[in-house]
Amino acid sequence: MENRNRWSNLYLALVFIVLYAPIFYLMYYSFNSGGTMHEFEGFTLDHYREVVQDTRLIIIVINTLVIALLSSAIATIIAVIGALAIQHVRSRRAKNTLLSLNNVLIVSPDVIIGASFLILFTIAGVQLGFSSVLLSHIAFSVPIAVLMILPHLEEMSPTLTDAARDLGATRRDVLTKVILPVIRPGIFSGFFMALTYSLDDFAVTFFVTGNGYSTLSVEIYSRARQGVSLSINALSTLIFLFTVLLVVGYYFLTVKKAKKPSAELTAEAGVPR
């Protein structure tokens, strides 16, 4: 048993090392005075100074965060509705059709989504900029969130809702007191997936943005033409450390608070609260 534990820890450690290797590589070179991600010449904080002085870059980071948070929150709400809709459909064929429609945006390459959204927005007369970017991010985050929520809904025993209704619960009560708590882990993973998609997206944003509005990945892609400048590494390091702090801090704070009724905590296991 002891031995087995060691092997499984080793496996997990390996997964984490690989996942973080490129990030640590980026971080390491953000201190390089040599100016490239190739040979480490000496330690410097110059690239960090550049980041702090570049107000445009900071505005872009803020734009990126605003879009990511807003779009994933709204997309998750739509996705909950979508998952319920798919669940409600009785006939298998209709369900498959709905699911296929749902997945079209996941399968379509970003370039196509971007181009077709661009045409749509120009037809509809939406000004390119914040609103068009927000709308598209909501649009392409919905299906992945639905996919994250749906399994939880399907695994939920139908007797549960029937029982609740038999006990006199209204439709609203069934939703808020029975369904939502059960699918909560799915909702959180859906939200995080949406956040991930939004933060990572380049192609779609590139097409639908305009009038001076930009997000971080678009900025990085266009700066990359001249070779990635190490100030971008420095910025990523800062963002990375900030998120790690936020995530770890938040986690331990909530764990501490919930320490007393620990039985409840394990029972309600969901992705972070």
Binding site: P22, I81, H88
Partner: protein, 269 residues
């Protein structure tokens, strides 16, 4: 009255489908019917069924398959082990966290790591294996793709494993099932929905990868996604690009129907 109320709250989702799914698909279908001179024709579809595109389709499917299989092989045990850790939610978050760092930057880091003078080659050198070309090979392409998709595979599997009732496991063990039998007969069937959404979240986007085919594989791997990107952004032959896209959408629908059909049969039993 209740059925009407039901419909009302579903509106946002159907609106989303109409505006951002059906409308773009119709647009793509429409564009795929025009050639470069703006004439209505089916020639794009004829062009698609030529050796160049068929070969490309085959290699896209082969690589997407490899990427999905390897992601699953790595992700399933990882997800399983994660559910056994002390602070599992925290660890899970730490799995997702790397995806929040810009993909292009990580790809550049991989170019450095796999490069001729990069750390991996230095390690190989020290081990006495000697320098190898890692960058611009099928291996590095699959490796980096799996790297990108791993969190998308782990997350749904983790959720499914979390929903697993632990008493089932002890019951199976009490009834004398070995570890492997428990896994095969109890754990895996109950988590198959998670595996399915994971595979879907990996296989389908893997078909249309583009950036890293150039950055990591140096255009030695050409996928359907690369072709679409080229047609939309370089050749500006939107007709041909849309045709490839229509093909991808049809394939996706087929995959969905097949997956759904199998599941229906299982439930029917």
């Amino acid at each position: 009255m209740t059925s009407k109320a039901k419909q009302v709250y579903l509106i946002p989702y159907y609106l989303w489908i109409a505006l951002f799914v059906i409308a773009p698909v119709l647009l793509i279908l429409y564009y795929s019917l025009f050639d470069l001179n703006g004439e209505l024709t089916l020639s794009n579809y004829a062009d698609f069924f030529t050796p160049v595109y068929l070969k490309m389709t085959l290699s896209s499917f082969w690589y997407a398959f490899l990427i999905t299989v390897f992601s699953l092989l790595v992700a399933y045990p990882a997800a399983w082990l994660l559910t056994r850790t002390k602070h599992k939610q925290l660890w899970l978050l730490l799995i997702i966290l790397p995806t929040w760092i810009n993909l292009l930057l990580k790809t550049y880091a991989f170019i450095g790591i796999f490069g001729t003078f990069g750390p991996v080659n230095s390690i190989l050198d020290v081990l006495g294996i000697g320098e190898k070309q890692i960058l611009f090979t099928g291996f590095s392409f699959v490796f980096v793709s799996v790297y990108i998709f791993i969190p998308f595979m782990i997350l749904p599997i983790f959720s499914a494993l979390e929903d697993l009732n632990p008493t089932l496991l002890s019951a199976a063990r009490d009834l004398g099932a070995s570890g492997w039998t428990t896994f095969r007969r109890v754990v895996f069937p109950l988590t198959v929905s998670g595996v399915r959404s994971g595979c879907m979240a990996v296989f389908i986007p893997a078909l249309s990868l583009f950036m890293i085919t150039r950055l990591i594989a140096g255009n030695r791997v050409i996928t359907l996604g690369t072709a679409i990107e080229q047609h939309f952004l370089v050749t500006q032959d939107w007709g041909m690009g849309s045709t490839v896209a229509v093909f991808l959408i049809v394939v996706m629908a087929l995959v969905m129907v097949l997956a759904g059909g199998r599941k229906g049969a299982r439930h029917g039993k």
